[in-house]
């Protein structure tokens, strides 16, 4: 194809020759050749041979001035845009041409000119651009497309020069309020103003009035789906409700948009609702249910979208002390064909969701993952079980039993991971029975990785009282002290000293001295040497001078004292959470970090003050829905855990053997549906009911 010939590397002089050659030939043939040559230039720029092509600027200028063809103009504008960073001296000449283009009657050309003007970072261009902008935005006769182009030109200029956009701020809010403007122009104006506000910290917050807000929402049916997102996003945090009823009303208006097939619209609606919920006194449970189910419906999307939904929304909303969404755990069970990033997020969510009542189900699931073929996954699952044990104090035994079950699998990496995990569990619950410890210690020889080795050493040391042969166990590690990795060496050193101060026998003394000596004499790592020396001095302090004010008990206290209890930090800081909820759908919320930490220059969002703002978000009252309990009778109410109390998602398959009562039941029900519908009773106002028996093509 000719396209492929265009996409080859050319020298500037080759193309120049081609352009000039074309000049001489007959007009019609030459026009086609010129276009081809221009295409080659653009193709070469696309491939990155910018410097080579830069020398062709004079030729481009020549064509620009004489040719009126749209394709040629397009190529010229593209060329100018590409050359923007080169600071070529030809730009002043080009400016004239661009202005001519803007003055033409062709709308596409005018849009292009406006775009080029605003994108080239030169003062002369900016002043020209400002003139054009004013003429476009003030005149009501201009088309919507041109006005939108002008709005984005403002943003374009703002990106390069921070001060150039400032004069337009009042102008923009005027457009937003103006009823006669095109709906899409108003939507774009809102988003541009929002963007400006975000990047300029000193601008006053753009508080929209109540009327404007509802006005904008009324526009929604007239806009396309992407503009819906702009409006819904623009209203978040920019409109501050002043009374409870105002925000209630607004929630009602926005709710239907959760149903949109475009995920970005439904998420934007969700974000706006979540924002508004901060300004109400109570909320109907049915709304919570609708939110939850619309989020669940989003989980059936391509994996990238699914990831964003999981990460952005669910993790956030469940991160609250009182989870806002009511979603059943089974939706977060990992599928074998999920990409790793989804698996990780789902594990996190499972961990967050775990409570006493659903722990059994989650543990069963995690146990399955632990025996998965995927090694990474299985390790993460075991970690999660260990963390659950630390988190839920009442059901430690369940978790420990699962871990011990998994030990029996005897797979290398599972053992390593379980031993490492047990260190944390043991530290939280030191009163373990000696059986468990004996079972763990049985794997003394098979631990390989540094982390699990040092975990094993820690366990042996800590529970040496219930292990009569602890020294022999310990020797496995201490015998080749020199070859161990640093982490293990530290553990060995600590433990040997602990043994010595705890039970002072010749054996422990010899062991301790040996380790200290090797560490001081042979160790390469200064930290290790340092610590060994520290221990050595400490011990010799007591032995040499009996009159010193440090007694042996003090040393025992220092070396082998009570360890502080560990806790896991599972909740996000409420302030951060609040900010992230306002930023659903942005990059910061994927990382679950405050905006200021990810992007330093941006304004951090906070909930604007209002007389009805709820400071304490957990105090939000939920009005239970009386109807819902009835409606769950027939086919599944997909979300509410309450209605499913009788039929948990994990149910025995034996149920299938029962007579198919649902079917008979339904036949009757269907009859009633038809009978009860008003529609079928009045056939006159309806078109006929239709149903044809034809197979699908």
């Amino acid at each position: 194809m000719s396209d492929q010939r265009v996409f080859t590397r050319h020298k500037a002089y080759e193309i120049r020759a081609e352009l000039q050659q074309a000049d001489n030939k007959r007009f019609k043939a030459s026009a086609a050749r010129q276009k081809n040559a221009l295409k080659k230039i653009i193709a070469n720029i696309t491939m990155g041979y910018l410097n080579e092509m830069a020398s062709l600027f004079p030729e481009i200028l020549k064509f620009w001035s004489i040719d009126d063809d749209m394709e040629v103009k397009m190529a010229c504008h593209q060329y100018a845009l590409a050359m923007a960073p080169t600071k070529s001296s030809h730009f002043e000449e080009a400016l004239k041409l661009i202005q001519d283009d803007f003055a033409s009657s062709n709308e596409r050309l005018r849009i292009m000119a406006l775009n080029t003007l605003s994108s080239i970072p030169r003062p002369s261009y900016y002043s020209a651009c400002q003139k054009c902008l004013e003429s476009v935005l003030t005149r009501s006769s201009e088309s919507a497309d041109l006005k939108r182009a002008a709005l984005h030109a403002i943003l374009n200029m703002d990106q390069a020069d921070k001060n150039s956009a400032r004069p337009y701020v009042s102008f923009l809010s005027q457009i937003i309020n103006e009823q006669r403007q095109f709906p899409s122009v108003r939507a774009h104006a809102l988003s541009v103003l929002d963007a400006l506000n975000e990047s300029h910290k000193d601008l006053p917050p753009m508080s929209l009035s109540h009327d404007t807000c509802f006005n904008l929402l009324e526009l929604l049916p007239e806009l396309n789906e992407w503009d819906h997102t702009l409006i819904l996003n623009g209203l978040t945090a920019n409109y501050v409700p002043q009374t409870h009823s105002e925000s209630h009303h607004l929630i009602e208006v926005v709710l239907p948009h959760l149903q949109h097939v475009n995920t970005s619209v439904s998420l934007a609606a969700l974000k706006l609702i979540l924002y508004l919920i901060n300004y109400v006194d109570s909320i109907h449970e049915s709304i919570v249910k609708r939110l939850s189910s619309s989020v669940v419906a989003l989980l059936n999307k391509p994996s990238e979208l699914q990831f964003l939904v999981l990460r952005n929304v669910i993790l956030l909303l469940l991160g609250r002390d009182k989870p806002f969404l009511q979603i059943d755990v089974s939706y977060f069970f990992v599928e074998f064909n999920d990409p790793i990033y989804i698996k990780d997020t789902k594990l996190e969510i499972l961990y967050l969701l775990a409570k006493e009542d659903n722990l059994r189900q989650i543990l069963q699931e995690l146990k399955d993952y632990a025996t998965d073929i995927d090694i990474q996954m299985s390790r993460k699952a075991i970690r999660a079980i260990g963390n659950l044990a630390v988190k839920l104090e009442n059901s430690v035994d369940d978790c420990i039993n699962v871990l011990l079950d998994l030990l029996d699998f005897g797979v290398e990496y599972i053992i390593q991971e379980i031993i490492s995990v047990f260190r944390n569990v043991m530290r939280k619950y030191p009163e373990q029975d000696s059986e468990t410890i004996k079972r763990l210690v049985a794997f003394n020889d098979s631990v390989q990785e540094p982390e699990s080795r040092s975990a094993m050493i820690w366990i042996i040391t800590q529970f040496s009282r219930s292990l009569p042969n602890f020294l022999t166990l310990f020797r496995v590690f201490s015998d080749n002290f020199g070859e161990e990795s640093l982490e293990v060496q530290f553990s060995v050193l600590n433990s040997s000293v602990k043994f010595f101060v705890r039970t002072r026998s010749s054996e422990t003394e010899e062991l301790c001295l040996k380790i200290l000596k090797t560490a001081v004499d042979n160790a390469d790592n200064p930290d290790l040497r340092e610590r060994a020396l520290m221990y050595w001095r400490l011990l010799s302090l007591v032995q040499q001078r009996a009159d010193s004010n440090i007694s042996l008990d003090d040393i025992v206290e220092i070396v082998d004292g009570e360890l502080p209890l560990i806790t896991l930090n599972t909740r996000l800081d409420p302030a951060v959470l609040e900010e992230l909820e306002l930023n659903i759908g942005s990059i910061a919320s994927i990382y679950l970090k405050p905006i200021g930490q990810v992007f330093r220059l941006n304004r951090t969002m906070t909930l604007p003050q209002s007389p009805v703002l709820n400071r304490n978000r957990d105090s939000l009252e939920m009005i239970p829905d009386t109807r819902s309990s009835k409606s769950s009778a027939s086919y599944s109410d997909p979300i509410s855990t309450r209605s499913r109390a009788g039929s948990s998602p994990v149910k025995k398959m034996n149920d299938h053997d029962k007579p198919a009562e649902t079917v008979n039941h339904l036949k009757m029900k269907r009859r009633t549906t038809i009978g009860s519908s008003k529609v079928t009773r009045k056939p006159s106002i309806l078109s006929r009911r239709i149903s044809i028996k034809r197979p699908f093509t």
Binding site: A297, I692, K693, P695
Partner: protein, 526 residues
């Protein structure tokens, strides 16, 4: 705001890039994307660098990448949705199931145009195929266009020669339906072009105004000689059952209401679904509607009200959870592996039961039974040909993938009273006999007996040289794919469909069909 978009191939070579603003940044970031480690897809779809972000999705082995100059300001969700929509749009333009490298390279011009049309200064504008298609009429450059056309023509002529006799045989009906819809499509195109012949040149003069109007998805001035509206309700069943632990892991109905509209003017449609009347809350909770549906009326109104776009579109998607008590539509009643070590035989039997209305029947049903585990646990002697027997359909043995494919075909519905069984018999390796034969061969002067027919064991060894393939195999599961026409698993029904056009007052023909199929996963884990 998207600063630039690119499509990259599997090796992360740029196939096509388009930047909307800052070029230098775009180049450095795409360079960064190229070297970024994407191994094991541990990263999500977002990469961050110096306050700029790369957002990408992976489809059909291609990366669709977008670059954001000001990451804090961008809405990741919008971008990802846009990329996804753009991918779907491209796929529809190319009319292929799978995009590949060559599709992109051959259609650079088209893609540039599409990118320009679907975004404006990096803000997504318009991704509706039915509208974009009227703007951009660049010829799609496909490698197999010619053969495809010829095939279509052949199909058409053969069908044309068929008479219009009303044969109620299922197969015939299928054909006639095909023909009908095929003609319809042709007719629709003809009526659109108004006899101007070349569709390329014709542009609906209303189209340019459409995007800025209230109904942005439907141009004015559409005319058809015959006004028809097709509505297909397709329900996909997703099922995952752990047979050993007797646990139902997943049982979902993923429904789609797909429409094709060939209606003149600006018609107002009212569609009433029985679920809307009875289980409104539960149904609406998971349903997602096309942008043409007026969402405000959904909560209160009796019916779905809409002005449909022209041509094909997806009206509604919904997900319902099936009650645990409902048996799967195709139920695995029994799966047994019984070795007989005395006779050195191994019997595998599979029984399935249909659980749907007795009046309906499947138009196709295939059951796949994996044998990997069996081959792993038992020493199967493939020198002796295995035998298969089944009540209905045929059984095929897929040696390379270690599975039995049982093509059941058409079976009637029921509620557990009828079942269908398949038996397979394999021979186990008999060491004594093998030794005896070897011994005999050694001692006798005769040449080894000539073997006729397939030598399965050789084929098996040829395809199973790689020992890793066994360990990497996903969990063994009996899977089924099927199609049941006229039946919706959720008992969803279109109560009525009303078409009104205020100005033209034409007679219209609504057609409604239902079917239930399997979704991506319909598996009994064994």
């Amino acid at each position: 705001m998207i600063s630039g978009i690119g499509i990259f191939d599997e090796q992360k070579n740029a196939l096509i890039t388009r930047n909307f603003s800052n070029r230098a940044l775009f180049e450095s970031l795409t360079g960064f994307f190229k070297i970024a480690e994407l191994k094991n897809d541990t990263y999500g779809p977002v990469l961050l660098k110096n306050g700029s972000a790369i957002i990408f999705i992976q489809r059909d082995g291609l990366y669709f990448v977008s670059v954001q100059a000001h990451a804090a300001r961008c809405n990741v969700m919008t971008v990802v949705v846009y990329l996804d929509q753009f991918y779907l749009l491209l796929k529809r333009y190319m009319a292929t199931k799978r995009l590949d490298r060559m599709c992109i390279i051959d259609n650079v011009n088209l893609i540039y145009e599409l990118l320009d049309e679907t975004t404006e200064y990096g803000v997504p504008q318009l991704t509706e195929y039915n509208i974009v298609q009227d703007f951009i009429k660049v010829q799609v450059n496909l490698p197999s266009t010619n053969s495809g056309k010829a095939h279509n023509e052949a199909l058409e002529s053969s069908e044309e020669s068929d008479n219009d006799g009303n044969d109620y045989d299922d197969q015939q009906m299928l054909k006639s339906w095909k023909r009908q819809s095929f003609r319809k499509e042709k007719k629709s195109k003809q009526s659109l072009s108004h006899g101007l012949g070349d569709d390329e040149q014709y542009i609906n003069s209303f189209i340019l105004r459409t995007t800025t109007q209230a109904v942005s998805w439907r141009p004015k001035g559409i005319h058809y000689a015959k006004n028809e509206f097709f509505l297909d309700v397709v329900e996909g069943l997703e099922l995952s059952v752990d047979v050993q632990q007797k646990i139902v892991r997943k049982h979902f109905i993923r429904g789609r209401i797909q429409c094709r509209s060939y209606l003149s003017g600006m018609p107002q449609l009212k569609i009433c679904i029985n679920k809307m009347q009875k289980n409104r809350e539960a149904f609406l909770q998971t349903a997602k509607f096309h942008q043409c549906v007026s969402l405000d009326n959904l909560r209160t109104g009796e019916a779905i009200e809409l002005i449909p776009p022209d041509g094909e579109f997806l009206l509604c998607e919904y997900t319902l959870k099936r009650s645990i008590k409902d048996p799967p539509v195709i139920q695995l009643a029994a799966f047994e592996v019984t070795p007989n070590f005395k006779k050195f035989k191994l019997n595998v039997s599979v029984t399935i039961e249909p659980h749907f209305k007795a009046q309906n029947s499947t138009s196709s049903l295939n059951v796949r039974i994996p044998l990997t585990k069996i081959f792993h646990e038992y020493k199967i002697d493939l020198t002796k040909t295995p035998r298969f027997k089944c009540d209905t359909g045929t059984v095929a043995f897929n040696l390379t993938d270690d599975l039995l494919l049982w093509t059941v075909g058409c079976i009637k519905g029921g509620h557990g009273e009828n079942s269908h069984t398949m038996h397979a018999q394999f021979y186990l390796f008999d060491e004594e006999q093998f030794k005896k034969e070897q011994e005999e061969l050694k001692n006798s002067m005769d040449p080894p007996p000539l073997r006729e027919g397939l030598q399965l064991e050789k084929l098996y060894n040829k395809t199973h040289r790689d020992p890793d393939s066994l360990t990497n195999a996903p969990r063994a599961a009996i899977t089924a794919d099927f199609e049941i026409p006229y039946y919706t698993c959720s008992r969803l029904k279109i109560e009525y469909l009303k078409i009104e056009e205020d100005q033209l007052h034409y007679q219209s023909f609504p057609w409604v069909r239902y079917k239930t199929v399997n979704d991506k996963e319909y598996a009994f884990q064994i």
